[in-house]
Amino acid sequence: MRIPYAWMATYCDPGLKPEVLAEKLAMTGTEVERVVTTGPPSADNFVIGKVLATEPHPDADRLRVCTVDTGDESPRNIVCGAPNVAAGQTVVVALPGAVMPGGMKIKKAKLRGVPSEGMICSETELELGEGSDGIMVLEDGIAQPGTPAGQVLPVSQIVLELEVTPNRTDCFSLYGVAREAHAITGAALAASPWEGKEIASGDAVESLVSVEVEDPELCPRFTALAFEDVKVGPSPLWLKARLIAAGQRPINNVVDITNYVMWLTGQPMHAFDLDLVPDGALTVRSAREGEKVTTLDGIEREPGPDTVLVCDRNGPAAIAGIMGGAVSEVSEATTSVLMEAATWNGPNILRSSRDLNLRSEASSRFEKQLHPALTVRAQIVAAELMAELCGATVVEGMVDVAAPMPDPAPIRLRAGRVERILGLAIEPDAQVEALELLGFTVEREGDDLLVTVPPDRFYDVTREIDVVEEVGRVNDLDRRLPATLPSGSGRVGGLSRQQSLQRRAEDSLREAGFDEIVGWSFTDPGETDRLRITVPDPRANAVKLSNPLSEDQSVMRSTLLGSLLGAAQRNLARGAESVALFESGRVYLPAGEFGPGPLGGNFPGEQRPPVNEPHHFCALATGSIDPASWAHDAVTADFFQMKGVLERLAAGLGTTVQVIAGEQPFLHPGRSGEVLIDGRGAGWIGQLHPTVAAEWDLGEAVAFEIGLADLLEASPLGEEKYVDFTAFPPVDRDLAVVLPDSVEASGVLEAARTAGGKLLKSVTVFDVYRGDQVGEDEKSLALRFRFRADDRTLSDDEVAPQWQKIIAALEGLGGKLRG
């Protein structure tokens, strides 16, 4: 909302620098985005001049050399290119030293050899008007030559650009902002331009205009005035200057009056050419199927069935509250005008304007819901201006179709309530004063206040708490409010168990050399294709956005792998030689079973979340995971490096993971596994399929992805129970067994464990050999066994039977013991 400072000052002049007022407005709830100037940055060096004579330029057809009286001892020479310049005109001259809008500085110059000491200005150049041909010609005798132009015209207008919050419909009006300035500075507020005035009463209007409202819910009030003998033409300079400073384009005096009144009162208006409304009969109704209306901007629009139209006998004449129609637009030929000021249903206007993708100054006010009383204010001001600026005759009476409004019940502000909410005591007298400055009517009842809200704030201030806010915000709240901490109640802050374990898990990957990334939650729908994930894999069924910013960000990711691949690709393209990255974040899947706790997608609250968003952990490495040094060779990221990282992650949480052979569409089929936690599938690990890796310009890359909640659920951390350790020595034995390649290590260990019985405490693989000493398609596994009893020292004799069983079990898998 642009507020020309000088215009506002005609109602309330706080006598402050605009920047100081801006600060005060900001500290009371109305942010001032900028303080700007319309027109030249300063009015200095702009003076009134009188053109004494003009003659052609000797060397340029289009230029004229003018002799201009600017109040100096002798007239000055000014070269001017405007076609309309002529002797006898009163004009505005920018003298050398003047700075034009945009920063150009006027200097003495020679134009095609002829000296020129200034510039005769046009309306456009001064930002006082638009589109006029040539220089601005002022009324004769408006001021003596040499008079500073700023004394006669708003040459340099300071404008506050307010960021008005949607609740403050009153501050979408200049008078409302003036009232706000009054309340926060205490400066006097002049009477409003409608105060004490009335529409001339009578019923003449009824013979010219009739209005029918089908649904008062959608149109709580429709008022109309009629004007005759209207002379359409340009608005006077002062009005155009105010409109331009307000950011509105001057059109003609009638349309300018509607915009001017809207700016001043907050109530949008619309002017119809009454002669183009058959019989002056208007009907307010909802749009019909297929109905079209051409709006003032010349665009044919097809409103939806919820949109309200103002129709004449022949069909739509305006889209209610949003934009007028071309059919009865005011033009230079117009001689009679139907002036509408109506109240519309805010939510309906918001929806219609969104559906039509058409927002206007009018709709942006109506959508916030205006009070019906504003219509009459606007009509009063408009009627005065129509008579004054268009020579119009106001037809007596006003058509007023209004649904009854409930009488506003006063709001009770209980004693002590302000202090209870704010934590700051404000004296009752100060409370009353603040409310009255803001335009509320206050009565005391005991220690309570009964507060009546003016129409301007009707929908904003409806409850006691709203009154508390009003009292607080204009009472120097920021400076006076103490800073205290909530008292009482022995509350305990902390992380949940899941949250603290999550931190430990993240730290574990960080310590293993991985950099954490934060990837986009949305991705392109082709990502799963590139990962070769297809239906019925649930990851192929991504959550889709209906209004994405771009196709690239139109679905929610169902795996973290894509984010990591993208980050790896970008980093390698920018010169990184290798990367080890991880992400700790959510994936989004159609609703299904939740895992445990928030990390499993199971959040507090009565309604189940719409989709499943479990927290995953994903790590990806390519290239050397540990660069070469003088002491050791580089370690390349391979399957077992990655598995080691995963095992270390689990170990850091006091648990273990198991990996069994298992395929994923995006992994190397021979180098991929399913990750089991407590025997249940919780993720995958493997080397990327070369085709998939190539999609992201990667060579060999390894990765894993697991559900974090599953992993943390298996962690006994913090809940470990001490187990008495025995002092009795173990018996350790090793063996090497040659097995077919197809037999997996996990199967060998499982068979050995089963055969070893209770005395076998552990068995591990400590070497794997393939080569000359074993057959092709064979491998030799070296196993280490530890036997121990909790209550005695084991003898070799006791171990012997178990040992035989283990050997038998290994042979059962096709194994041959090596010497």
């Binding site: 709830g29 942010e31 949607p166 939510p347 309906n348 918001l350 209870r420 909410i421 704010l422 934590g423 409850r463 708490i465 806010e469 607080g472 915000r473 920021d478 103490p482 800073a483 205290t484 901490l485 909530p486 509350r491 802050g493 902390g494 992380l495 931190r503 993240e506 310590e511 293993a512 050399g513 991985f514 950099d515 954490e516 990334i517 934060v518 990837g519 986009w520 939650s521 959550v543 889709k544 209906s546 994405p548 970008r570 920018r574 990255l581 928030p598 959040f603 507090p604 609250g605 009565e606 309604q607 979340p609 719409p610 989709v611 968003e613 540990d626 660069p627 040094s629 003088w630 370690v635």
Partner: protein, 361 residues
């Protein structure tokens, strides 16, 4: 005989002390204590002596034998220690070579670091940390936060909606499921799940349909909510001030500007005094502070007292607006990270360039 034994002791003691190698000592051991040694011969011949001499001679010989044995042992150890030292002295490494590298640790993302910092500060002030869904029902994101349908306040936030059938549950309408535009929906979920007093924060991802150098369609917020008997706007100010001082330094001040949010009343925006210019708006040289643009304050977030209409949605869970009051606040994690670490462009956080990540260890 006794003189001879004393002579042997004196000779032996000197010889052992003079011995310089293990081989010499072995020679001396054989010479003085071996089978053919004089002392051994004397001890072997005791039986042939007069009975009266047997005692004194035997005693003296045995004493000398033990003394020499002890000296030999002592000397052997001394020599071994000297030899070890000598060999260690020649076994030199170049201690100036770089250490054998342990695999270098990676880095946590600056957003994670900043989130943890904020969490830890708020935990210290007695808050629990909660998480909520990012894909959310309109009810929690808007309706229960006092944004009625077709209310212009909804236009303040450009919302991403989930396509019906596009992963949203069956039967939902075009604007029923959305990506949360703020972390505030967890206010209502948290109040539904636990009665007051409630002190909690919600860090997490949020989404708005907006993208430029200062707006990212995905960003992170922290929500705070405190509800109990007697909570005031002054408590909000004190809490934010305590938090901001932990994050930006003990000299910081807070400024609260009245504002409008549908789900708080009164509402404020809060600023922290600029830590670069100390709030003066001017740098030591007199130039305008480029961090706060000469204002002295840095805008951080929104806050206010929980609107009674919001409590109206959780009244049955124990939130009666006549009995309890509460405050809520929200701000961006990226904003804090940008300010603390001087990152100029929001989008850098989601580019995940390791050259940025590696600056945060």
């Amino acid at each position: 005989m006794k003189e001879r034994i004393e002579q042997i002791e004196a000779e032996g003691t000197t010889a052992i002390a003079d011995a310089g190698t293990a081989a010499e000592l072995e020679e001396l051991r054989v010479g003085y204590l071996g089978r053919k040694a004089e002392l051994t011969t004397i001890l072997r011949g005791i039986a042939d002596l007069e009975p009266a001499e047997r005692g004194p001679v035997g005693g003296a010989a045995n004493k000398v034998r033990k003394a020499l044995e002890a000296l030999l042992e002592e000397r052997t150890e001394a020599l071994a220690a000297a030899e070890l030292e000598a060999s260690l002295a020649t076994d030199r490494i170049d201690v100036t070579l770089p250490g054998s590298p342990v695999r270098a640790a990676g880095h946590l993302h600056p957003i994670t670091r900043t989130r943890r910092l904020i969490e830890d500060v708020m935990i210290g002030l007695g808050y629990q940390v909660m998480e909520g869904p990012e894909v959310e029902h309109d009810f929690y994101n808007f309706t229960a936060l006092n944004h009625p349908a077709d209310h212009p306040a909804r236009m303040l936030q450009d919302t991403f909606y989930v396509e019906p059938g596009g992963g949203a549950p069956d039967g939902v309408g075009a604007q029923d499921v959305l990506l949360r535009t703020h972390t505030s929906p967890m206010q209502v979920r948290a109040m539904e799940s636990a009665p007051p007093p409630l002190f909690m924060i919600v860090p997490g991802k949020t989404y708005r349909r907006d993208s430029d150098a200062t707006h990212s369609p995905m960003f992170h917020q922290v929500e705070g909510l405190a509800v109990a008997e007697g909570i005031t706007l002054a408590d909000l100010k004190g809490t934010l001030l305590a938090m901001l001082r932990e994050i930006f330094g003990p000299d910081r001040e807070i400024r609260m500007r009245p504002h409008f949010f549908p789900f708080t009343e009164p509402s404020v925006e809060f600023d922290v005094s600029c830590f670069k210019c100390g709030g003066s708006g001017k740098l030591p040289g007199g130039d305008r502070c480029n961090l706060c643009k000469g204002i002295g304050w840095i805008e951080l977030g929104g806050a206010g007292m929980v609107d009674p209409n919001v409590f109206g949605f959780v009244r049955e869970a124990g939130y009666d607006p006549d009995l309890v009051t509460g405050f809520a606040f929200g701000f961006g994690i990226e904003r804090i990270a940008m300010l603390r670490h001087g990152v100029g462009d929001l989008r850098l956080f989601f580019d995940n360039d390791v050259r940025l990540l590696e600056q945060f260890s």
